[in-house]
């Protein structure tokens, strides 16, 4: 600080001191208003900062969600959740007589086979034997069978017209259903 700012001395400096003693008027300036306006402006500035920050984060979240949807659509299977109406309340339990189910025997075939072997009818035995061979070896492995002696001649002629002569001989099973012409 230079000598120019030294303490007042002399007549001129006394006059300066008298002028300094006059208190300047603050006019219409109010301390509370200035403090309030200063705080409000500072608050607005902070509010702008947070508004900008919020907008930026929102944009970032939208972009991130869009990116996830675009890039990885197959990693997340579509799961449909369907809500059904709740079942009605279970009625009060009433004792009900439930019939015991009929229990079938494991198989009746052995009995039938035994019955067939015990019968004296040769035709039935033969038919049963053919059936067994057909089930075990297939229809192509069956031996050639003689024609049915009881088949009427007229019917045999009609069958000859209907069935083709070519191809392997067809088995003629006694007791089976024959094709009849109309």
């Amino acid at each position: 600080m230079s000598d120019l700012n030294r303490e007042p001395s002399g007549e001129r400096d006394k006059f300066a001191q008298m002028l300094r003693n006059l208190a300047p008027s603050g006019g219409k300036l109010r301390r509370e208003r200035v403090v309030f306006e200063a705080g409000r402006m500072k608050g607005q500035r902070q509010a702008r900062f947070w508004v900008g920050m919020t907008a930026m984060l929102a944009c970032l979240a939208v972009c991130l969600a869009f990116w996830i949807i675009i890039t990885t659509p197959d990693q997340y299977p579509h799961v449909r959740v369907r809500q059904f109406a709740e079942p009605t309340a279970t009625p009060a339990l009433i004792p009900v007589v439930v019939p015991v189910p009929y229990r079938l025997e494991p198989s009746e075939k052995p009995e039938l086979e035994q019955i067939a072997q015990q019968m004296d009818d040769d035709r039935l035995k033969r038919a049963w034997e053919i059936r067994r061979q057909m089930l075990e070896k297939g229809i192509d492995e069956l031996p050639e069978l003689p024609s049915s002696p009881n088949l009427p001649k007229a019917v045999a002629n009609d069958l000859r017209d209907i069935l083709p002569d070519e191809g392997p001989p067809r088995p003629q099973v006694p007791g089976s259903i024959y094709l009849l012409p109309r």
Binding site: L19, A23, P24, G26, K28, E37, A38, R45
Partner: protein, 160 residues
């Protein structure tokens, strides 16, 4: 800038800043209020707060004066004489505030602003020179010239 520090600055310098802004404009309170608001909005507080406030007030007052002069030149000139620049003093041996106001208002602006800044703003001549944009010696010379003019004008009222 804490509210306590702001209140302290207002209590101590607001009236002198209003007086300083009156040299140019008719609504110095608005200029001073804007200066304090700008001070609060500063991220880094200035090293020397008082000279910074005077600089902001000076720029704001000159800017307001120019725009007001463009709008209503006549009304501005008329309104400049209305307000009192100083509080009414209780000391009967002191200077008359209205006479000082009138004498001060008739000084050239370059002398008047230096007197106001030095006497009531307590700025040093180095700070005033930086504020006004001149050298320290020039500021001091203008101060002396203005003070002598005031003494001559207030000679009858001056008790010395």
């Amino acid at each position: 800038m804490t509210p306590e520090r702001l209140g302290e600055l207002i209590d101590r310098y607001a009236a002198a800043l209003v007086l300083y802004a009156r040299q140019w404009c008719i609504a110095p309170e608005d200029v001073v209020q804007d200066a304090f608001v700008k001070l609060v909005q500063q991220v880094d507080s200035p090293e020397q707060v008082v000279p910074w406030l005077y600089r902001v007030v000076r720029n704001g007052a000159i800017s307001q004066s120019r725009s007001a002069r463009r709008r209503q030149k006549y009304e501005t000139r008329k309104a400049q004489k209305l307000p009192e620049w100083f509080e009414m003093g209780d000391d009967p041996t002191g200077l008359d505030s209205s006479v000082v106001t009138e004498a001060l208002s008739e000084l050239p602006v370059d002398q008047r602003e230096i007197i106001v800044a030095h006497l009531w703003g307590a700025l040093t001549f180095e700070q005033i020179a930086e504020l006004v944009g001149t050298s320290t010696s020039t500021a001091f010379r203008r101060y002396n010239a203005g003070l002598n003019t005031l003494r001559l004008q207030l000679g009858a009222s001056c008790p010395i």
